[in-house]
Symmetry: C2
Subunit: 279 residues, 2 copies
DNA sequence: GCAGATCGATACCGACCGGGTATCGCTGCA
DNA sequence: TGCAGCGATACCCGGTCGGTATCGATCTGC
């Protein structure tokens, strides 16, 4: 198998149309058909069921599609990392969701900078759920993420610390003056439906709550009395004065973890992880 | 980048000798030199420092070597999994160390077999530390492993259960009659040095204890009064009559987990995991 | 029911590239 | 200084990849 064939296969499997896939690949349709046929012959399996009107994936094709995507990500990651390693000035890209782990992040960066031989740390601010892809395709070397919200599938992690969650409410809301509440108290407020975040796929779950992408949007909507949310304590520090944070007793604890791609052998990554776990 | 180039690069990086690498690849040396040069040009980096007497890896080369190995494993995994998916009769390869999780394994297999649509489960008995490679290169779909001994780097896991550890001693040993002991009690016995297992690299750590590869060897040596060992409770069940198992209070607990490659989307794997976590 | 459109497969051709052999040039060593 | 070892270079050949033209099948609309 060659990467060329996998790239072609992914294009066809995603488009389910040889013509369109060829166009996307910037080539003519016949050699594409031939390449796929050759790949199928090599593997001894049909990957695509095709009539002259419709193309569908076989079970084996589905498996190969998933594997191919992983392989192609790994290849672009290899290119990026090799080039970065070649520059000489060691640098480290740390992916974090904006608004995440404020104080911890400061301490981590300070402590790492004090290490002998510390590399320059570039911060890569990303959206929720993006960490994984960034690490996979080599755009980032390390990430800070929130378990169990962010998936750490296929990554190595060290947990750094756990914290409870708080509900963020308009300052004037009856619940705002309570010293603690329960999940049921906030999830059952008809006038304040819970805000909805985009899932891993980028689309929003169904529900009545507002669709939000970041904390600024969210806090504004809460201040307007349109929605509410349950978030980690630390994300609810330094609130606007018109909002209140109330601990939610039975919300699952959130763990902040540092994650990196499993076979990373970079000394700089190892150093950062060591520093992080000692904080 | 193409896989051909990565395969060539790995060969050269491992041999550090173009002639030997070419021989291993079954080709002549000149085209190999050319291919490496071309790869370097594509990446815009020197990967190998070469004089006419010696070849050495650059830092970038080291990075690419690690990444390439991962990619090539992923490719052979993709081929194997695709071919297996094509056979039609769904099967599932479960990797376990021989002697591991006896009772749990029986229950798991029984429970899974009772599921509707269960696949045939093939057991792949492996050596310690081999799980990871088997999952990575597609020889196995799922593995049972012992945390923290077996590394789960780059794998998804669900922990199944935790247990304490016991010291296995000759029945006649003074400690054998104790109801519980501490690590210090067994590690400081000059006449019974702790057995040594091969590490992830396959080589044995330094030390006075006997080198062992499996439980049968081990139990025989313990019965002969040559060594001792601390292992999970369940592995010490059903002992030979001339041996004694004594709980070690302060030994770290051992967790049995089920692990699978992160982007596995096989229904059969998902089913098995679900069954396992419900046990 | 037939003409046309759509789409993948096939046939054929040219150009590029990957692999081979021969040889060069450098380096360490006796 | 001559020789052996090793990687790079020069040059040639053949396979293969990609292009154009066309076929054959299937669905659509009149």
């Amino acid at each position: 198998m060659e990467l060329r064939e996998l790239r072609y296969f992914v294009a066809v499997a995603e488009e389910l149309h040889f013509g369109k896939a060829a166009q996307r690949l910037g080539m003519a349709q016949p050699p594409l058909s031939r390449a796929i046929t050759q790949l199928e012959r090599r593997l001894g399996t049909t990957l695509l069921e095709r009539t002259s009107r419709k193309v569908t994936l076989t079970a084996a094709g589905g498996v190969l599609l998933a594997e191919s995507r992983a392989i192609l990500s790994a290849v672009t990651a290899a290119e990026r990392r090799t080039r970065r390693a070649a520059t000489g000035h060691p640098s480290l890209v740390l992916a974090v969701k904006s608004g995440t782990a404020g104080e911890l992040l400061t301490k981590l960066l300070d402590a790492y900078a004090a290490e002998p031989g510390a590399a320059t740390v570039e911060l890569l601010l990303c959206e929720a759920h993006q960490h994984q892809q960034l690490l996979r395709d080599g755009q980032a070397d390390v990430a800070l993420l929130h378990l169990p919200f962010d998936s750490a599938a296929g990554l190595d992690t060290e947990t750094l610390y756990s914290e409870g969650q708080v509900a963020i409410l308009p300052g004037s809301h009856p619940l705002a003056s309570r010293s603690q509440i329960r999940m049921a108290d906030v999830t059952t407020l008809p006038e304040l439906p819970m805000a909805r975040w985009p899932g891993p796929s980028g689309s929003y779950p169904e529900g009545p709550g507002a669709e939000v992408r970041n904390l600024t949007q969210l806090f504004q909507l809460i201040a307007l009395g349109r929605t509410t949310v349950v978030i980690p304590e630390s994300a609810g520090a330094d609130l606007r004065r018109d909002l209140a944070a109330v601990p939610v007793l039975d919300a699952p604890p959130v763990t902040t973890a540092i994650a990196w791609p499993p076979h990373s052998r970079l000394r700089t990554v190892a150093d950062l992880i060591r520093v992080a776990t000692r904080l």
